[in-house]
Symmetry: D3
Subunit: 287 residues, 6 copies
């Protein structure tokens, strides 16, 4: 039961992309294609994957030309094989040709994220670990890319700097200059000033940093770049008093072993910062 | 001599990204870091590459806090080694921490593109072939990603659907339904209707499609998914009567051989649609 | 140690207000006041209160005319008496007169909120209860009004529908149609789908609804329109297994008694939906 | 015959409010409420009043979900009793729950203004005096709040600094430094420079300031903070040669007496700067 | 004493024009002109006229490149001869070349309007008649074009449909269907509903329509397409009971005769709807 | 076969113009015209011309009130006589009256451009010369005005500084300071750096400048302010090695003679910078 993107998120970003790609029209279609030429086109994958962004695909078509008829054959979050029929568009050939690239740019990228996420998630089957994203998203596309992570079966981390506290190494480095107890005190003070709905998470590099955070009653402790053995030790020591997130050096090869240490969360920036677009094609029906 | 991004392109997109990442402030820094804490931070690569986006990095800092002082140590388009000093920021610790992620998100992505482009360009040394980008860019970031391609020594293709004619397979499929001579006639007609400054390029899948395009006096012929041998035949046949662009199946392994066929241009969507962010870190000076 | 509003929040909203109030200039000042007339003006309260919005006041002045010099004499969150000197502006009389109303509209409203909040907060001294706001804010001004609540010593609740779960009576009514166990199951399912940083709060109207929520391990239970006696019973029953928020019928007369029941949070929509602007005046110095 | 708000005014402000309240969706409804759950909800007042903002209420619903069906049972400007049926919404439970707060925030505030205005207007029955608003409106909501004043039977003053001249005490203070005749001369000069459609109004604090304004042929004279006796003297002295506006210390208790002095206009900032939201509820039908 | 355009009006429209003219930079300057080339350029008229828009000229330069130094040698509203030195720009040759066209487009158009207006105004010397503009302005440029009319010594009419009532022939045609007394009654009713600051003007085609308007106490009567003799009759009949505006068939040849009839206002759409840009050149200093 | 304006270009600019003309409604119609009054109105020219902008006319109506029914009787680019029926609008009288001025402002201006262009084009019949526009367009309306030029049978030049190289006298003056060979070298270098789709054009003032440009293989040479005899000499000398554009002193009287010299292109700034609006009227049907 995937939470859909609100249409109010989809439309403005698709409009922006269409304007970026055709600031004063598509001169190729308009000069070469007869205005009354009709077409039927199919969205077909050249490789297997997990679909994400089908409603952005449809919006690119219908915001270009409201008379285009788009039929989505499978839902976002669904796995497909090479050659599957994902969507069909009928209507003005000019309009479909104008919208094609923008429609594909969104869907290929988001399906690439969903597909990669699904591979990570598959590695954690049978463990308590959830795969989560980070703030290492493409500027302007965070809401879309987080949605793609969900399509792949992953979970989202906080959306932004404004909705949860996450103190990382650089925060700790600055606080460390205030003296040894500064962190614990700052965290306890923070509780009295932030909304009661705000979660507090802190990153640690070493096991000996954990006790101060438990004393400060943080909600989640992030173990950054820990060895598998240290992760296991950390999980055992924390013993449910906080959630445990593993981060750093999270690869497809290593993620099952990380999940097996008992951590609650495994975060990966690569889910969104280093994406290969999934190869989807738009085939014009020829008859 | 790299054409810089206009500041009027940089500022709005950085402002948008900052707003996306902190719609109502950075609650971590604001609750944990003393308002008067000062810091010095260095931008340092964890791997070698080509720099791109340094002025976006700087803008993320100074648009967050105009009192931050950013010093850029090398220029965009420059190659660097692991551990080089790319930039230094001095000022409010809170502000640097707030801007850090957005600053890195831009620079890591663009430097990733520049670095990959430079690898392709290096493979074409000594040939006439130029590496060019495509419209397979991230929605909203086309101007930035094209700039990154230039930072890596590549060239840009047309910016959008509005500034050059490029008829691809789907356009030809629609035109084919109008009869065998429809394409040539449509192209000749187009010349009388478009600005004299508009370039006409057409994609072909087979060698026998070329003569009709030469008859129509197109400016560039794109050989899509040709074998190396067919590329050589095509280049010889066209013989300077049009520019020749190779596209499809352009990999780092294969690009030198493509360039050796004598084509003028080699376009690659992967330069922008499947980017690995370059690993750059922000190190807070500890003293 | 009050978290300030980011300047990037202040400037656009003040620019919008200035444009709303003078879409094509201030014709009164421009036709009646000599362009070179200088003035000194003082912001002075006509009644005691707590200051909020002083930087919006300053921005209204300097965004109208960057040559105006604004000196803020006390900080937001500070209590003042009638006749205190809050701020001084020096510069072009035309510009000050043009900016005056917008500057006052922001500061009077926000100081009104801060002052009312401070009265509620004062009533809870010596208890664990925190005064918190709601989503009953003025459209477009939520970030400012939440800030004003903090200036008055209150705390913020969630910012929006996107950053915490808060199931209220109408949600429960819809869920109730799915059968008796639907709520508990839906809440347990929710945990697996939302970010681990997301807080879950549920509103109850009766004591007998509490156990299902404790079983679902919600983070906060809101007791809506409870009698003082039922609140005490609820707090004792929950016994620290969730935070307890009191809402409904929260008046200045009753808030101390509510706080004395041991609840953690007391929320009041009136803090922002029914505000009396504080009476602040701008006095032109006459010499 | 009330002039309605243009839809082009309603839609952007409602969209902004919806975006402010759910920047990336309503996570409560989306995680707890089944996507296919239907609901019927009624807008019902908890106290008597005058309706204003019903089309903003409807827009909040339909801009959230165009499939919601909203029926407005009474028109803006109509008086209602506690428990009346104001509007009915049918459709997706998720969507109604998401839009509820924004819909109420607009309608409660505007109905609060209309209700308060109607009380002032009722006090002036049988006199020539009209109740008018001021520029002391909420930043960003001026068009809406002026509309609410009209719903309550009041009239609007000028919209902004750009559409009428209104010289107040601070303008006069600046002009006074130019010498005793400066005001009259500046006003006569103004007539030759402003559009012939522009109205000129000037505020006075004392009766002896009036003759200079009559000499300058101003259109309206505002008597600020006058005693009732001085108002009567002023009205008699002006004798129809200009409109007369009373301002300052305008309370529900005093407004009938002010109206009885014969003034043409009574302006009150409190109509918009110190509003109590009217208590309206959204009741989900349970069956 | 000309009322200047607010900088907040100038900057957004100049930014828009710069973006329209160089969406991703000026490729001519950037590829041909060395980045460090400096230049001095002079704004010089090729024909005599009245200056308007000099601050838009300066803004086009400095918003393109804040390091450009612009010196304005004469003020808007001043008459100049061919070859006069209007402004000087110093700085980066690239930047000046990029901004040149946008800078000229604004200034040539506005100076064209100011110059034409001044010719009309000159014809009315010694009469009571003022030359005023209309709503026949270029979409998006109304504030600028009204300013240019003032630079030429003209006056402005109402800004928009929102700030004065002006009933024209088509309004009267619709009202006529309601019966003979509908207009007078509608105008009297209007007074009770609009702000007291709102001016009422009505257009007539025939002398026999005037008495109904005087009965309705309108503020201004517009005589549309009247013969000179009928104008004189109309002015004599109205006899100061309303302002009189002449419109229709207002040419440079005829305007003196119109002014001599005694009308208060002469409006001309041609001032803004049919403008010849004034010929201004940007001369690069060569040494 | 005219390339239409995309609806995404039309709607925002029409919305902007409607907002500029009625920021808070049309108070004339709203106070004088009954809300249920219906009307039928016809768009009728008062002089012959070529239509352009009919869909902006329609959009002004339907964006004001979606229930208005607009019927366009002839297509853009069509020639019409005085009194022809161009369009009919049916629906709310209030709405038509509100939209009238904005609808006419667009259509009169664009039809003025199309009509003037058609006169120039008619003079070039039987020659190879095409009439083209320039960047001397109204700020904000470039896409519309270029479209109007096409409606008149003209062609467009480059859209902006970003999509073609056009070196003019001031560029050459700056380059000249770098030495005699600087221009040729800069042009040859440019080819390696710009997209292969980018056209290079250079302006010359004298015949002896041409050979350097041919050596640099520029695509188009602009002969600026040449005598007819020098144009003929230039065309003969260039002999098809580049396109030839004539500019400067292009008048209706002289354009046929210019076309007869054999140039490929004739550009005229006056097409867009000095336009007389075509006289179109909106006639309300009276029955």
């Amino acid at each position: 039961m995937l939470t859909p993107l609100p249409q109010s998120t989809i439309d403005p970003i698709v409009r922006m992309a269409l304007a970026e790609d055709a600031p004063w029209g598509d001169i190729t279609s308009q000069t070469l294609v007869p205005p009354d030429a009709q077409a039927v086109a199919h969205l077909v994958p050249r490789e297997p994957g997990v679909l994400s962004g089908s409603r952005l695909f449809a919006a690119a078509m219908t915001l270009t030309d409201p008379t285009l008829v788009v039929t989505l054959h499978i839902e976002d979050g669904t796995t497909f094989e090479t050659g599957a029929l994902l969507a069909t568009i009928q209507g003005s050939a000019r309009s479909i040709l104008q919208a094609e690239r923008v429609a594909l740019n969104f869907t290929q990228r988001l399906s690439g994220i969903a597909t990669l996420t699904a591979r990570f998630v598959a590695q954690t089957a049978g463990t308590r670990a959830r795969i989560v994203d980070t703030r290492k998203t493409t500027p302007g596309l965070r809401a879309l890319e987080r949605y793609a992570v969900r399509c792949g079966g992953g979970n989202n981390h906080r959306f932004s700097l404004s909705d949860a506290i996450l103190a990382k190494d650089n925060h700790l480095a600055v606080l460390a200059r205030q003296g040894p107890a500064a962190l614990t005190q700052a965290l306890l003070d923070a509780r009295t000033r932030i909304p009661h709905t705000t979660h507090i998470e802190v990153e640690v590099d070493r096991l000996d940093q954990i006790d101060a955070l438990l004393a400060a009653k943080v909600d989640t402790i992030m173990l950054d770049n820990f060895s598998l053995e240290d992760m296991r030790t950390g999980v055992a020591h924390i013993a449910g008093r906080a959630l445990v997130e593993a981060s750093g050096n999270v690869t497809l090869e290593r993620v099952a072993a990380i999940a097996a240490t008992g951590v609650d969360l495994i975060s990966s920036g690569a889910l969104t910062h280093s994406v290969r677009s999934l190869d989807l094609g738009l085939d014009f029906q020829t008859t």
